[in-house]
Amino acid sequence: MQANNRYEAERLVEEYADMIYRLALIRTKSPHDAEDIMQEVFLRYLKAHPVFESSEHEKAWLIRVTVNRANSFLSSAWNRRTLLFDEAVLGELPEEEDGSAVLNAVASLPLAMRTAIHLHYFEQMTVKEISSAMGKSESAVKSLLFRGRQCLKELLEP
């Protein structure tokens, strides 16, 4: 049992830790909160012991849980005031790459918009998958993506 579990845990951390952390980060903009969310999501997985049909199904579930967990962190006043990424995140990026600008641009978008942009352009999810993960209709997701792209253009291409 123990060996199996160890194997299972390694697989989960290997495959999904970064995915969950990034999504939580883009939503909360705080590495500290993202770490907490990551732990909660894993804990939830342990508690529920869900049975998945496929790896896509598993990924979709973890994303959905992360989106929901991150909601509770966002309600604090501190989070609503913080607009940009924490220094701690940007500090990790090399200076010469213009990474911080695009990250901060995405981070400055409204919550639903930046979530949709992240899931579509980083996690390569389809509109349908995003609509299920975020609990929004497909047309709403399409418009979030469209408006998100427009906003980013304005922010990044003078």
Binding site: E8, A48, H49, R64, F122
Partner: protein
């Protein structure tokens, strides 16, 4: 631009230290195997001994009990820490003490507030789950845009019965039975399955590992996320060929099967027959998807009533004189600490769950009493002849389950057809030719008394407190001779219990009598949607028109001013087992073949959605 985002984001990784911590935590959480359980049991036994020792000391010292009148105290450092570390549980505790919001969606009728009862469909206001045949259907409720989002079949051999829902957990109760190979006495392997689904994504419920408990399904209740499951099982005791433990009640979770320890089985009643029967009561934590505790009682009972604190099992019996009596078993519904807390015996037999009610520490039970009485003087030709005397009574029992008061001899020669308790009043319907509705005052537990009696034709098979001094009865319409004609619905004004009056009658379906009479007594009260808050009543109607049967679903409301029922709409479901549920501004009439969405302003059909099997 998007490539730049991908590049920048790709460079961000979860900190290695957190990953390592997760790995460590994850490895520590492992399923509990049988051996470990035994070890824990041993440890628990030692602990029990120790505690018993302490208890003696404790009483000797007579320390004052800690004050827990406002908030519970920590009884150990560990308890304090556990409390502190589980903020989610603290929140749950908090929210349960906040008064419930007005109902915006339909919940299966709860006899005791906060104690959920199972049903073939459940809604949380945004989604609806329904069992049709062997499949669990999930619908997103959006008025005319309602869609099927998921369709799931049950594991091989499991036939789903009913659903329960709390927060992000949906539980399906199902049966599983199979012939035991090589058995010549036709014995079956019967199990009751509990399939718990995680509703993190309510559109696509996700199955957790299944649980099962030996025996056929009897009933269940759910308080928040704690599910109480009752099953009955039996084993043939053959002295010649007997293997220890074989056939004893067992529970199964997370891949492990555990046979109940003898210490978990109460010696209820001995029947002396070869088949040893058990009633198993388990508390299941649906959040964790595991059993908290399982207890069984030899004999036990199959009629279940639950108050907010206790679960009662009732068994109807007869003595050698053919007089009927009932055995009562009381379990506390207290999660992990659930156990048997009382046993009692009363004269008479109990009709259904609505014949029982617990209030202020007293249990009140309405019964029909049957006795065999010798003739006086005896018939010289048949001195042994005894005739049967039937009457009705309401017993009041204290917390030791001892009868402290009884009002008996109510309407001799008739039987109880329905009962409903409301505070210190009990409404009782008996029937033979006409339908007397009794109001019984229970405010003095030692001397309950009949306040009034109202005679109308037919009888009510189900009584429902509609609010504001109104009592709704659904049942059969009859004539003065006692012939049953058809269905009817009555509204009683009970604002003055000394003078109960029938103020409105609505006949349902044809009133041609005949062989459809059986339906009146074999009904399921969960099939009717009744809400006093929303002033909405939904009922299925079957009528004969010429030679054809018409199957319809009707919505009614009650006009308090005009004192009459108003028919708001009649709808024709494509399949059977139509059940109504309201959520927001719509009512959804779900049958086995389609959903009819009705707008509750205009009562017009806004959409019909076919359910493809």
């Amino acid at each position: 631009m998007m490539e730049r985002y991908q590049k920048a984001m790709g460079r961000i990784h979860a900190p290695a230290s957190v990953k390592a911590k997760l790995l460590q935590e994850h490895t520590e959480q492992r399923p509990v195997g049988r051996r470990r359980v035994l070890r824990i049991a041993l440890a628990a036994a030692c602990l029990a001994l120790l505690t018993a020792g302490t208890a003696v000391l404790y009483t000797a010292w007579r320390e004052p009990a800690p004050d827990e009148s406002v908030l519970p105290v920590g009884h150990s450092y560990e308890e304090l820490l556990t409390f502190w570390r589980n903020p989610k549980e603290t929140l749950g505790y908090y929210s349960s003490s906040i008064k419930a919001e007005p109902e915006i969606y339909y919940k299966t009728h709860e006899q005791s507030k906060g104690v959920q009862e199972s049903d073939i469909q459940k809604t949380n206001g945004s989604y609806l789950w329904r069992i049709i045949d062997k499949t669990l259907f999930t619908f997103r409720l959006e008025g005319k845009d309602t869609v099927l989002t998921c369709k799931q079949t049950m594991p091989e051999g499991v036939i789903p019965y009913e659903l329960l829902l709390f927060g992000d957990r949906l539980a399906v109760i199902g049966k599983y039975s199979k012939e035991i190979p090589g058995s010549d006495d036709g014995s079956n392997l019967r199990r009751t399955y509990v399939l718990i689904y995680d509703l993190e994504d309510p559109a696509a419920p996700l199955a957790m590992e299944p649980l099962w408990q030996s025996g056929s399904y009897v009933d269940c209740r759910m308080i928040e996320d704690e599910l109480y499951l009752i099953t009955q099982t039996s084993v043939k005791y053959d002295e010649e060929d007997w293997e220890e433990e074989e056939g004893f009640p067992a529970i199964h979770s997370k891949g492990d099967t555990e046979i109940l320890e003898p210490e978990d089985i109460y010696l209820g009643e001995a029947f002396g027959s070869k088949w040893v029967s058990f009633t198993v009561v388990s508390a299941i934590n649906t959040s964790k998807g595991e059993f908290d505790v399982s207890k069984a009682v030899l004999g036990g009972g199959s009629l279940v009533y639950a108050s907010q604190k206790h679960l009662y099992l009732v068994r109807q019996r007869k003595n050698e004189n053919e007089d009927n009596f009932s055995d009562l078993y009381r379990f506390s519904m207290d999660g992990k600490n659930s156990r048997l807390t009382g046993k009692g015996r009363i004269e008479g037999s109990v009709l259904d769950q609505f014949s029982m009610d617990e209030s202020n520490g007293y249990l009140r039970v309405a019964v029909t009493v049957e006795k065999r009485v010798s003739l006086d003087p005896p018939n010289p030709y048949r001195p042994d002849f005894k005739y049967r005397v039937v009457s009705n009574a309401v017993h009041v029992l204290d917390d030791q389950l001892q009868v402290v008061g009884t009002v008996g001899n109510i309407q001799p020669s008739e039987r109880i057809y329905s009962a409903r308790f409301n505070g210190n009043l009990c409404y009782l319907v008996t029937y033979r030719k006409t339908d007397p509705l009794f109001a019984i005052d229970l405010s003095d537990p030692a001397s309950p008394k009949v306040l009034s009696e109202l005679k109308v034709t037919g009888f009510s098979a189900y009584l429902y407190s509609y609010g504001e001094g109104l009592l709704l009865g659904i049942g059969a319409n009859g004539d003065q001779e006692g012939n049953l004609l058809g269905w009817k619905m009555s509204m009683f004004d009970v604002s003055d219990p000394h003078n109960v009056i029938e103020i409105a009658v609505q006949l349902l379906g044809d009133q041609k009598g005949g062989n459809s009479g059986w339906e009146f007594t074999s009904y399921d009260h969960k099939g009717w949607m009744i809400s006093g808050d929303r002033n909405l009543i939904g009922i299925v109607c079957t009528e004969r028109i010429d030679k054809n049967w018409k199957y319809s679903y009707r919505l009614f409301s009650y006009d308090r001013e005009a004192r009459e029922f108003r028919i708001m709409g009649e709808y024709l479901p494509k399949g059977y087992h139509a059940r109504g549920i309201y959520a927001g501004d719509n009512c959804y009439i779900v049958s086995e073949k389609n959903i009819i969405v009705v707008d509750l302003e205009s009562y017009e059909v806004v959409a019909e959605i076919d359910i493809a099997q």
